[in-house]
């Protein structure tokens, strides 16, 4: 393993191949006991209990403007931990961990514009989109400031 690369966790969203850097990934869980959370943006699906921790679950499909088809038991949650936060990212199918060499990582495609271009870290030759999780989580749109008068 002389060449340097990046370990990613590949998953699928609406039949498109996406990947997150495995360095951020803690573990993968099946979607169980999802409690919907009112007064949240549409991309916040709800909250789950992972070994005593309350973790919000995000749906990247609404974020990435992909078609949403509802939730099933077959959905997985990728638990991602940053420096000061922990969220669960919904994934249709978990493909597995793989290593991507740096030289195969290409910059963003000119065809991709808008939000996709903003959260993109790179695209492989096999059209595997590697998302930049930090940028997504630091996006101002993700901060919830809704107040419900009650």
């Amino acid at each position: 393993m002389l060449e340097t690369g990046v370990e990613v966790l590949e998953f699928r969203l609406a039949e498109e191949r996406y990947a997150l850097e495995s360095a951020y990934v803690q573990e993968v869980q099946p979607l169980k006991d999802l409690a919907p959370l009112p007064c949240t943006p549409s991309f916040v699906v709800g909250i789950v209990n992972v070994r005593g921790r309350i973790v919000p679950v995000l749906d990247l499909k609404t974020f990435l403007e992909l078609p949403v088809k509802g939730l099933t038991d077959l959905h997985r949650i990728i638990l991602v931990r940053g420096d000061d936060f922990e969220v669960g990212v919904l994934a249709d199918v978990i493909v597995g961990v793989r290593s991507i060499p740096d030289d195969t990582l290409q910059p963003s495609l000119p065809t991709l514009t808008g939000v996709r271009d903003e959260y993109l870290k790179g695209v492989t030759a096999e059209r595997l989109v590697i998302l930049d999780l930090k940028r997504i989580l630091t996006d101002p749109r993700i901060i919830v400031h809704d107040e419900v008068e009650g």
Binding site: L9, S22, E27, V28, P30, I94, V97
Partner: protein
């Protein structure tokens, strides 16, 4: 000749009859004489016989006398007694027989005297002998008185005999002469009578038969219609003359009629015929014929005129008829062709009908077997239903077990999924561990691939199970449908059985009907053939009709010409 025919015949035959009567009388007389001669002869022979008997009796007396004288026995007196008894009687008989001859009477008287003397002599000697004076008796005999007496008796008998024989010869000669005379008389008389009869016949033939023959010839000629003849009357006043004159008048009358007929024949009907008498059949008929002919000629003239116009119309009509007949012949020709087609069709129909009848028979047999088959099918359907029920139960069990397998597969899949997640987590952990976690990562990869294989295997099993479930569901549904189908089949088999029974009956009826149709069709074919033959005949007749119509047309033309000619001819009559 002023005698009538009857008088002539009577006269001729009277002469012949008179001659025959004379000949008959002569013959009668001579025959009577012959019979008399024959009686005389018998009489003569009777006299001769009696003489012989008398002599014989006398001899008996002599014999008795002599015997008694010699013997003196009374038995010798028997011939004497018998002879003396008969003698007188016989002499009386002879006398009676010869009463018509005085000479013979004298001789017989003498003979009687001699006999009496002889008897007295005999009586005397016998008396002497009886008294025993035989010598005296002998003396008397010796005198020869008896002998001389006997001689004289014999002589007298002989004389009488001779006289009788002579008389017989005389009479026989007379009879012979008489017979010869009679023979000649009969012969000549017959000849004379025949001559008279022949003469009379000849004269009658000359006088009656010949004129009658002439008249017969005339009648023959009249019979064959020849009236140009003259009947000769010869001025005779007898029946033949009357007949000849009547014939002459008849001929004249007929000639008058012939003249009238001649005129009529020449077309002159103006003359009127007067009948000879109310009984004149021919004259009356002629008069009526003349009148009728006049009427008819008048009618004929009208008729000829009508005929002329009618013939013209007939010519027109026959022309039309000829054209119509031609058209009709064409039509008949077409009809014949059509009928021939119909006949062929009928033949085909007949064949088909036969075929249908055979088929119907076969169908009837088939329907009988079909009924049996339907019963078998009903039984088979029942068995199938039972089988289907068993299959349905099995399918339900199979479906339940598939369900169970699905649950197991879900469990296995869940396990594989969890294993996969575990492998991913392990890989994540291994990646976090860096260089030290590499070996663990490989294991995690292996686990992941195992989980993947498990998932794929369960997927395959699920796919297969899904197929099985689909198949099972389909099978269950099919089984249910099959059960329903079998029930329906059973019901339908039942109704089919009934239908087949009805069908069998119908087919049987149809077979009979088809047979009848075949027979009818055959009859129809025969009928159509007859119609075809008839149409052929009609065609020929039509052809002949055309020819006939043409002939008729020309004939009508001829009739027209004839009508014109008839008009001309009728114009020639003077009615």
């Amino acid at each position: 000749m002023k005698w009538s025919v009857g008088t002539k015949i009577t006269a001729g035959f009277s002469v012949a009859l008179i001659v025959f009567v004379i000949v008959g009388m002569i013959s009668y007389r001579s025959t009577t004489q012959l019979i008399g001669a024959s009686d005389q002869r018998k009489h003569t022979y009777d006299v001769l016989g009696l003489l012989d008997d008398a002599l014989s009796s006398l001899q008996d007396v002599e014999t008795g006398q002599r015997g008694y004288l010699l013997v003196g026995d009374d038995s010798y007196l028997e011939p004497y007694q018998a002879g003396s008894d008969k003698l007188d009687q016989r002499l009386q008989e002879i006398k009676r027989l010869t009463v018509d001859n005085p000479r013979q009477q004298q001789r017989i008287d003498r003979l009687s005297t001699l006999v009496k003397e002889r008897l007295a002599s005999a009586r005397e000697t016998i008396e002497l002998r009886r008294r025993g004076k035989a010598d005296e008796a002998l003396q008397i005999i010796k005198t020869g008185k008896d002998k001389s007496l006997m001689d004289e008796v014999r002589k007298a008998v002989s004389e009488i005999k001779n006289e009788e024989v002579e008389l017989l010869a005389q009479r026989t000669e007379e009879a012979r002469v008489n017979g010869s005379m009679t023979k000649w008389t009969i012969g000549i008389g017959t000849l004379v009578a025949l001559s008279f009869a022949g003469l009379a016949g000849f004269v009658i033939t000359r006088n009656i038969a010949r004129p009658l023959r002439d008249l017969t010839t005339v009648a023959e000629r009249i019979t064959v219609g020849d009236l140009n003849l003259v009947v000769s009357t010869d001025g005779r006043s007898d029946e033949v003359g009357v007949l000849a004159r009547t014939f002459d008048r008849m001929t004249q009358s007929l000639r008058t009629m012939a003249t009238a007929a001649e005129k009529i024949a020449n077309g002159d009907l103006r003359s009127t015929i007067e009948p000879q008498s109310p009984n004149d059949v021919l004259g009356n008929a002629f008069a009526r014929m003349s009148d009728n002919l006049r009427e008819q000629i008048r009618g004929l003239i009208e008729g000829a005129n009508i005929l002329g116009s009618a013939a013209s119309e007939i010519v027109a009509s026959t022309s039309q008829l000829a054209s119509t007949a031609t058209e009709s012949a064409t039509a008949v020709n077409e009809t014949t062709t059509t009928v021939e087609e119909v006949r062929q069709t009928a033949e085909l129909a007949s064949q088909k009908a036969k075929y249908v009848a055979d088929s119907a028979q076969k169908a009837a047999q088939t329907s009988v077997s079909g009924r049996k088959s339907a019963e078998d099918v009903a039984l088979g359907m029942n068995r199938i239903r039972q089988q289907m029920e068993a299959i349905a139960e099995s399918m339900v069990r199979l479906s339940e077990q598939s369900q169970t397998i699905g649950q197991i597969i879900a469990t296995v899949e869940d396990l594989a999924s969890q294993s996969n997640l575990l492998a991913v987590n392990a890989a994540i952990e291994a990646a976090k561990a860096g260089e030290h976690g590499k070996g663990f990562g490989v294991v995690a990869q292996e686990v992941k691939s195992l989980a993947e294989q498990s998932r794929q295997a369960t997927n395959q099993v699920r796919t297969i199970l899904s197929d099985i479930q689909k198949a099972t569901t389909a099978a269950v549904m099919a089984t249910e449908q099959g059960s329903k189908a079998v029930e329906a089949g059973e019901r339908q088999t039942g109704s089919a059985g009934e239908a087949i029974q009805t069908l069998a009956a119908n087919v049987s009826e149809a077979a009979q009907a088809a047979t009848q149709i075949a027979a009818s069709s055959q009859q129809q074919l025969v009928g159509t053939e007859q119609v075809a033959a008839a149409m052929e005949s009609i065609k020929q007749a039509s052809t002949q009709n055309v020819a006939s119509a043409k002939q008729l047309e020309s004939a009508a033309r001829n009739v027209d010409d004839l009508g014109q000619r008839l008009k001309q001819i009728v114009a020639g009559y003077k009615a």
